[in-house]
């Protein structure tokens, strides 16, 4: 959990907004540090968390969460966290091994061009259990890897729409999705389309970008925070944007206005 980002977004573990759909995205940068922020934030706030970790192993998330002061194995034992380790679950499906009856959450990998019904059913099941915890939260790291596994943009849009309806509307919870976009901008790519579609649905978007001038040791990139619709702290209809530069540390990240990095001043 990065306190600076919390104050930018005016969120705190004691004060979690409800029904928020957050889209994290990056282009020529790496926004995955933000997913760790949101994971530790919601766990600290006592929410019921369903985490779809599709790109890294559980121990990776757990090691980072430990640095941020949260123990994922404990949260998992207590039933607060439901963790789907995509790498582990997918192997049997990709190799078309025979598993027992019943649908696995990732059985869409068996046949190309199928929908994500089973994954949604998994999410639905896991957030409906554990009423003693706060409002449910779904985190996905990251959605765009599903494109690499043959899921279409349409199916992903359906999935996010269903999740939004179930979590943000019905259960008054929250949802965070990470989309990683390839660097080439000229073509209309599927990840670009996906980002557009999700940005259209979301209430808060954080877009990470590398510096246009290239790699820098002291400024890792810039993040554009964009509130949409009624989600803005100053209520209004227009979307409100803020731009920050950031630097990721060992145990957190600092955010500062453009050009005010400690390396420059």
């Amino acid at each position: 959990m990065f306190p600076e980002l919390n104050s930018i977004l005016s969120i705190s573990p004691e004060n979690i907004p409800q029904g928020q759909f957050v889209v994290l995205s990056d282009r020529s940068g790496d926004a995955s540090f933000l997913i760790h922020h949101f994971l530790s934030l919601y766990l600290r706030a006592g929410c019921k968390v369903c985490f779809l970790g599709l790109v890294q192993s559980f121990s990776h998330y757990s090691a980072i969460a430990q640095r941020l002061g949260i123990s994922l194995p404990q949260a998992r034992e207590r039933g607060q966290l439901v963790f789907l380790e995509g790498l582990k679950e997918s192997l049997g499906e990709l190799l078309l091994e025979d598993v027992g009856p019943g649908e696995g959450p990732l059985d869409f990998l068996r046949c190309p061009q199928s929908d994500l019904r089973s994954l949604f059913a998994f999410v639905r099941r896991s957030v409906s259990k554990g009423v003693e915890w706060g409002p449910p939260v779904l985190l996905v790291d990251d959605v765009s890897v599903l494109l690499s596994l043959g899921v279409t943009v349409g199916a992903l849009q359906d999935f996010s729409h269903y999740c939004k309806a179930a979590l943000c509307r019905e259960l008054k919870g929250n949802m965070v999705m990470l989309v990683r976009v390839e660097e080439d901008e000229e073509e209309e790519q599927s990840s670009e389309l996906l980002l557009k579609a999700l940005s259209h649905q979301c209430s808060l978007a954080l877009h990470v970008q590398g510096l246009s001038t290239g790699y820098c040791k002291d400024i890792h990139g810039q993040v554009e925070v964009c509130w949409r619709g009624g989600a803005a702290p100053t209520a209004g209809f227009q979307q409100q944007k803020k731009l920050f530069q950031y630097k990721v540390h060992d145990k957190g990240a600092t955010f500062f206005a453009r050009g005010t990095s400690s390396a420059i001043l």
């Binding site: 995955s32 540090f33 192997l91 690499s148 040791k217 002291d218 060992d250």
Partner: protein, 436 residues
Amino acid sequence: MAAPLRSGIGVGSRQDTRAVHGTSFQKKSRGKLVSIPGTRPSVQNGQLLVSTGVTSLDYVIGGGLAVGTLLLIEEDKYDSYSRMLLKYFLAEGVVCGHSLFLGSARDPPEEILQELPAPVLDDIGCAAGDEGQAKLCDSEGEDSMKIAWRYQNFPKVQTALAASSRFGHYYDVSKTMDPEMRQASKCNTFFLPDELPLKSEAEPSTMNAGYRALLRSIQNLIHREGFDTAAPQNKSRNILRIGLHSLGSPLWGDDICCKESPSDAVSLTSFLYGFRALLRSSLCVGMVTVPSHLIQNRAIMGRVTKLCDTAIALESFRGSERETNPLYKDYHGLLHVRQTPHLNCLVCEVPDTKDLAFKLKRKQFAIEPHAAVDLLVRQPPSEPPIEPPTARRGRPVRDYMCNCKSCSPSVCAMQPGSGRGGVGGGGELLSDMAGI
């Protein structure tokens, strides 16, 4: 990705809790892990690292390859240097006694294995001594720096990128490895034409039959030989090095090299996802070369890169205009670091400079920050005329340089008049020295 190190071996988790309750000054012991030959724990995040076989490449990617991760090499045009790197990677495995797996679709794997370079094995110290630059790095330059004293405090990276000499070996590319030595290590191969019947019934899947056969064969090997971290721990553990040559080329039955919008765009990425899953749960380390210049759709290459952990690209000068360009006369090509892994930590320390070039010497594949960039940006613009040396006498040279320690040298050097020993600035520097 601590899978192999922490939960997998079962050393980490219990000790961690003890460390929390006890004093904070407990020595971290890593149990049996360090006893695997050819590995060392990372200084940054405690990951178990193995060498790529090229010491300066290890340095560039942050100390070495973490066990359980995948290195992607984007091939150069004629696949000569990327193939060399693959051979170094395998040869290092042979020298360290690791098991090997080599998958290929074009050249029979046995042929590649026969071409492995011979290690320079007299003594590790001697091996470093052979390479003047490597020694320069190690010995801190205590006595050898009489003449070039001005450069004493310059970062050592500038001469040659070399990590610790204990880890990784040097190879003589003019000789091939002794067959006896090669056969001492367990080596498994996968040659696609042998494994796959030409006509196979199409199963509906996201992955094509060739990749699926390859993935299954790797999985079987890992289970059979006990490389997975879930295996019983009483056996002595070893590392499996997996090298896959030219993945994505048409010979693997992939059409991403042929068409802009291939019908089978997700085969390679699905394979890499499955491969990543296998690596993460076992004591394996992978190296994959991909002919990226053949892949028509750049978006696919972007996804491939994201599914690998470390990604570097080789750009050879062979056949390009740069071969004859005097700026590049010392090098054989450029090396781009596309991606470094974030493992178990939010940040990953990488070397400052990203302008790297490589040259293949007889006993060393050297990767260095290339001088061409220095020459281009350090050459001051012609506007400020160089003052006569008398006017500048006594003024410290340091004044001409940007003093902020944090801005990168290339940025500083862009400012006019900041020549520090480059082409234009050389005159001043020499005259200053003469003045003193």
